[in-house]
Symmetry: C2
Subunit: 351 residues, 2 copies
Amino acid sequence: MNRPIRPTPPPRHRARIKMADIAQMTGLSTATVSRALAGSSRVRPATRAQVEAAALAAGYTVNRVAANLRLQASYAVLVLLPDVSNPFFADVLAGIDQVAHEAGYGILIGHTGNDPAREDHHARQYLTGSVDGLILVNGHLPASLVAAQRSSEPAAPFVAVSERLRDHRVPTVGIDNGLAIATAVEHLVALGHRRIAHAGGPLGNILTEERLRGFQEAIVRAGLDPRHTPVRHGDFAIPAGEAAADRLLAGRRPPTAIVCASDHIAIGAMRAARKRGLAVPRDLSVVGFDDIPFAAAFDPAISTVRQPRFAMGAAAMRLLLDVLAGRTPDPDEIVLPTELVLRATTAPPGD
Amino acid sequence: MNRPIRPTPPPRHRARIKMADIAQMTGLSTATVSRALAGSSRVRPATRAQVEAAALAAGYTVNRVAANLRLQASYAVLVLLPDVSNPFFADVLAGIDQVAHEAGYGILIGHTGNDPAREDHHARQYLTGSVDGLILVNGHLPASLVAAQRSSEPAAPFVAVSERLRDHRVPTVGIDNGLAIATAVEHLVALGHRRIAHAGGPLGNILTEERLRGFQEAIVRAGLDPRHTPVRHGDFAIPAGEAAADRLLAGRRPPTAIVCASDHIAIGAMRAARKRGLAVPRDLSVVGFDDIPFAAAFDPAISTVRQPRFAMGAAAMRLLLDVLAGRTPDPDEIVLPTELVLRATTAPPGD
DNA sequence: TTGTATGCGTTATCAC
DNA sequence: GTGATAACGCATACAA
């Protein structure tokens, strides 16, 4: 049991002014003050103005905690991110934020660092009142939610983005990873490449598996010899890409193109190529995945698979709003289209 | 007045189990259940075990909203970020997170998008109970906090990181921007550069001004001719860096080195150089600022000023803990050391 | 060691 | 259109 630690005794800084104070100042009841502040139509305009003036003068703001307790809702959702620094998430967040804002919801971001304990902590902590729902971005299903979801009870208020959850029926928005990779492979094949490698993500990851399968199927469809289409796995980061490419390029007949599972991997692959004196794209073509902002800034600018990040976030929030409103989302799995962005890292094979 | 919009009526999904239920299940009072769950020493071990078993079986978790209302504290802090995607913030967050975690606090992240309205919204919304304090990272002082801070009242529970707040006495942790830039200039001077330019951040920004001043003072100290040390301003992003360098390099006697106010600006500057057929560092030396993760991955690897991001976050959280504990932080302005990281974008001038 | 009762600051129901 | 009051779920002072 992880027991809440209560650290320092909470020393109040300055008695916060409350609704009763405003009521007293205006000579009204808290009921009327509440109604006026909430924008109820059942309060005389003059009264409302008076209340608003008093609140402004006193610097009063409704205590959300008390209101939430009474309302049994917070109009806020928690977005669980494994790693806030990943530029991939920025636009997803923006999409979530926009839809949430329009619907009168606020968003909070929880950083889990891929730590299941953190995920669980956040989920437990905030799902008991502080937020109305959860959006899981590329994360795992917090353990405390698994139990709830396993039973055939009404859907808990959460949805997943990007990474489909294994073995759980959770509303999800994502992309067709297999198709996206296949598009990249087909582009390289059309360019004349016959020895195409894949630098994939971590094994065990669903995205990795979908991309790997898409790669292999595209290779088969193109009639390429699987012996010349090697695959290496690592995580999604730069060093892993460099390591993967190091090994991929070390063979007797190295690939002329590498399809990567992330832009970071692509950057690592280009480092490896450079070390060997290989020029991109002349000696080696590289395709990334995600189209992070840096992809276009890199030298050479990276050809990559663009994910509709903003739309993914927006769709996820809409899904969550459905769940929160008690509707069962239909469809509950949304697949958004990707786009192959051709820049400067792909060219016909040199030899 | 921005009146709270209350969107859909909050349909409860499933009557949440509460402490009274656990009390009933165990035949104890809610008081004892509460004590057992809170880890009070004044409860018999057997009783505690019984309560924990029941809670576990029922999947019960304490309702934080109710507890917070009662405790008048949430043991959570809100970190306000202008832009979650900026890789600069990741380590700062990690530093905050670690110290917070050790002290029994949780952190929530608010994304403001540099929108004062958002900042204010977050500040008001969450400072009324949902969180105990605020950490402003590189942001502005939310309007609703300005009033509180202006008066000579006890410090409101918030601190600032990175960007010093103008005209307000707020505990702050940052770096010596002027010194940092000066170090870069001195390095270039030692290399033999005499025509050094500065591609700065947005005017009006405190960081920009400190860096600019540091640049100019270092130039004077080195005895360089100010006519050969031009300055351009833009925002901190890549395109601005490219534009600035475009103009800087267009003169009759262009600079042989550019000191940039961010790594992004440096990347933009290198694009501009490339367009003109200038090789970095042979024809142009470039120094960035921040040492974002990409700086080392870039080709060529960027020489840059490293900020102690993790330490900055950790120090900020410690400062906030002081304020939350009712202590007046001393010192209330912490300046952490930077480090010039030499990589592959600086060399003696070519001509 | 445990139970009873009260209040944290709101909002909603019901009177008026 | 406004006021009194109960209830949201929990933690603690006080009693036992």
